[in-house]
Symmetry: C2
Subunit: 513 residues, 2 copies
């Protein structure tokens, strides 16, 4: 039903996108925003049929799908508002000083679109990070045509949304080629899209393997292009001593929910929890274990994901010094050779539910700080309802763990004010590795607002200087151009003396409207 | 005298830089700015000795060296002011909405430094794009330690400036490792610096070959890092019909100066001039030829550069359909097999001056639009006082040339208002390829101000989304971090409710102080 796009079809799509770029980039901010709002309306108009299709394709529940569509519509509308407001243009004006030696010319700068953007749909967010998701909204706001490669796991959902976008394009008399939707189950279609000379940027949310491959293809082109890949992370949570002693049980309850939310299928899932050995940590683990045991195993997004979850979890649990706490390693764990995985009545109970092997068992593991520091396998993401609790000997060892970690989307401190003041080195180390730094809360739940940063140092994302949530993401798909010595009537509206669009601009070093 | 840094020395430098990073990034904006201003003062204090050394090493005249030092000091002081002003931090605050479903947490975002930055000195700007140049100033403002690899062609100048920076660091009690200066004549030192795990970004101005190599090294690391390489371009100038008919002689005189300014050793040198066949273009060429002939050949920066100039020029002039106008191809052209190169009394006169083979002869060539469109060799930069005039059959062919060109630092239109209004497709094509778009002026001369864009689509630079001149360049070395759910007293000064630094911030979507 969903046939891979042929090389010729991809060529045609890219030629159309290139032609559309030359028309669309001259459209006003208002025209772009109107188009984005029209897409939001069309998505709403897709009604229950879209929700049902998405539920069927992703195994995600109705409430989540309705919530995610609402979020996607909010993204389109709020980025449209940001597009029109024009702060993202970073308009700068330096007026001429003719009697300076040498004379200073009039120079005015603003961001302009890069060109056609290829967006890869994400498996875990069929709406918000897929066809009409954040990357698409940002690219359209920036003035770029968009080519979406549908995620094979929800190609039908993607098609319905693509048709909604095309209907909106039609209503807004957008140029042909402003949006295209292609299928590709293997890597060939993706490679052709990323390496096509007319592609000027790429947006992706997914696995490290996938994102890194796109990044390499993008950089190996004759003309390298930016590839914005958000590749997930293990989102470490640091349990600091005073806080842990005060509230071990509360924190455990909060985190049992965060670890298993949406069957653990969020890139902000807390996969690593670090504490210092002691009564507080013992209590935390005990409560967390109890809570996790009560979570009913559930279906994951698709067969590939549950398979990867079970395999990666098995690998992690098999590592020397790792103990499984509240669950068995998965359907294949009986033959894993990991004696701990089969121990305990509760584990056995969980193991039994797994005779239905397409359900993901929430799993908790533990290891010492030394074990973690010496084994990079334990630093890798296990995508799903899994987390490992690291028991450090002392705060120095916890600091060592923070320093050794690779880049993360989020890091969280569970800490009192005293904890923070007494552990400056740790706090600095944690801050240095993440894109979002959370205090006394959970990393799951990514608010769509201007101050959000969804991205982080590599390997959390390929470019820590940008994020994929919030209107600042528009700037990923734009570049500055300086106009030198142009007369007022020839300048773009955004840079004219009289500021007809009423946008914020820096004029002779002062921000002004 | 200038020994290549050993692997162990590089390791020590990077360890010191990494340690310094953890101290320096916590310094206030004012402390960073004070340090930058102290460097400016120390550079001034170097007095005539620095100017003399630079003149001796680069063959550049005294006035240029004095002007360039003044410019470098201006950069340090103006980026220091921008650093303190804090607009570059892109501070964003979204306040909590506890009764939203789910509750919206308090989130606040700002830019923080990436880590140690490696800067490569540029041969053609011993001050402004070298040791204490724009990249260094931007990195220090962002909160990053800097490691400079001295350009081998002016290692002594670089050493004097490095000592000035170290003296300033001492006076400002900066941490050890905040700045380091290493020598490396081959590529090994550069490679070690770029691939060291503690290096988090690279700044470079120079050749395509050099910049592209650094870019590849940066991307092939286990943890890829941004490499900001400004690699020059041919800076096309489009002579549009009405303007050319009105002012052919004036434009020619203006461009004779621009082509030969500083012996053509600017990355913004106009190496390509495009017009439509006719009386206007004939007159332009005749006057330009006359003017260029009057320019006295001069020494270039160093032996490697004059050698490359003569070789690349020879290659260009030997291409089928290329005619040499006002000079011969250089000292080796007698044996080049290019019959046109040896024709004409004037050419011979210029050829004679070249018996002193270390002087660069300003050279003008010409070819038809068809020749240019069919020969990519002619699209390559010939670094030096060289330019080729392309005679197009009509405006369609000129548009074709614009569409075929690769990315450029600058593009220039010599045009009346009528020219611009009548040639929208051409204007759009030209705008699409450049970082700075100039009307009725010359591309040489890069004003240091916020609205400047010095950079452009690849291969002009490796990241068109940033530039290396103006305080916006600070953002190259920083990344956003979002603080979620932090109490006011624990937040950085920049994000506290009371805005103690008085910086512009976007609070709940509105810019405010």
């Amino acid at each position: 039903m969903f046939r891979d796009a042929t090389p010729q079809e991809i060529e045609n799509v890219m030629q159309d996108a290139w032609k559309a770029f030359h028309v669309y980039r001259k459209f006003s901010l208002k025209q772009r925003a109107d188009f984005m709002r029209a897409i939001a309306i069309e998505m709403e108009n897709c009604g229950d049929a879209l929700i049902q299709t998405a539920m069927h394709e992703t195994n995600l529940p109705e409430a989540r799908m309705r919530g995610e569509r609402a979020r996607t519509i909010f993204q389109l509308n709020s980025y449209a508002a940001a597009c029109e407001k024009g702060e993202w243009l970073e308009a700068r004006i330096d007026t001429a000083i003719p009697n300076k030696v040498p004379p200073k010319p009039d120079i005015r700068k603003m961001l302009i679109p890069l060109g056609p953007v290829v967006v890869f749909g994400a498996s875990n967010f069929p709406f918000a990070y897929s066809t009409a998701g954040g990357d698409t909204a940002c690219a359209l706001a920036a003035g770029c045509p968009v080519i979406v490669k549908a995620h094979p796991a929800h190609a039908e959902t993607s098609t319905i949304v693509a048709n909604a976008i095309l209907a909106a394009a039609d209503k807004c008399t957008m140029p042909k080629g402003i949006f295209a939707h292609v299928y590709g189950a293997g890597f060939e279609v993706g490679k052709r899209l990323v390496t096509h000379p007319h592609t000027k940027a790429v947006g992706f949310t997914g696995s490290y393997t996938g994102g890194k491959q796109l990044f390499d293809w993008g950089n190996q082109r004759k003309e390298p292009i930016p590839v914005f890949a958000e590749m997930g992370s293990i989102n470490p949570v640091f349990l600091m001593p005073e806080k842990l002693n005060n509230s071990a049980a509360d924190i455990a309850k909060m985190y049992a929910g965060s670890i298993t939310l949406g069957v653990g299928q969020f890139c902000t899932n807390p996969g690593l929890i670090i504490g210092v050995e002691g009564e507080g940590l013992d209590k935390f683990i005990a409560v967390l274990e109890d809570e996790i045991k009560n979570i009913v195993p559930a279906k994951m997004l698709h067969e590939g994901i549950i398979k990867a979850y079970n395999e990666k979890k098995k690998t992690a649990l098999e590592q020397q010094g790792v103990q499984t706490l509240s669950a068995v390693a998965g359907p294949n764990s009986g033959s894993s050779g990991n004696s701990q995985a089969a121990v305990g009545a509760d584990s056995r109970r969980q193991g039994l539910t797994n005779s239905n092997s397409d359900l993901a068992t929430p799993t908790l593991a533990t290891a010492t700080g030394k074990t973690f520091l010496n084994n990079p396998v334990l630093h890798q993401e296990v995508f799903g309802p899994y987390s490992i609790v690291i028991r450090c000997a002392d705060m120095n060892e916890m600091t060592e763990v923070a320093k050794q970690l690779e880049g993360q989307l989020t890091s969280t401190l569970m800490a009192t004010e005293n904890d923070i003041k007494a552990n400056d080195e740790l706090v600095e180390a944690v801050r240095n590795i993440c894109g979002r730094f959370i205090l006394n809360s959970v990393p799951t739940g990514v608010e769509v607002c201007l101050s959000m940063q969804h991205g982080g140092p590599f390997p959390a994302s390929t470019d820590a200087r940008f994020g994929s949530v919030g209107a600042d993401g528009i700037k990923r798909f734009a570049r500055p151009i300086a106009f030198q010595n142009w007369s007022n009537q020839l300048l773009p509206e955004e840079l004219k003396n009289e500021n007809p669009l009423g946008i914020w601009r820096t004029v002779d070093n002062e921000l002004t409207k």
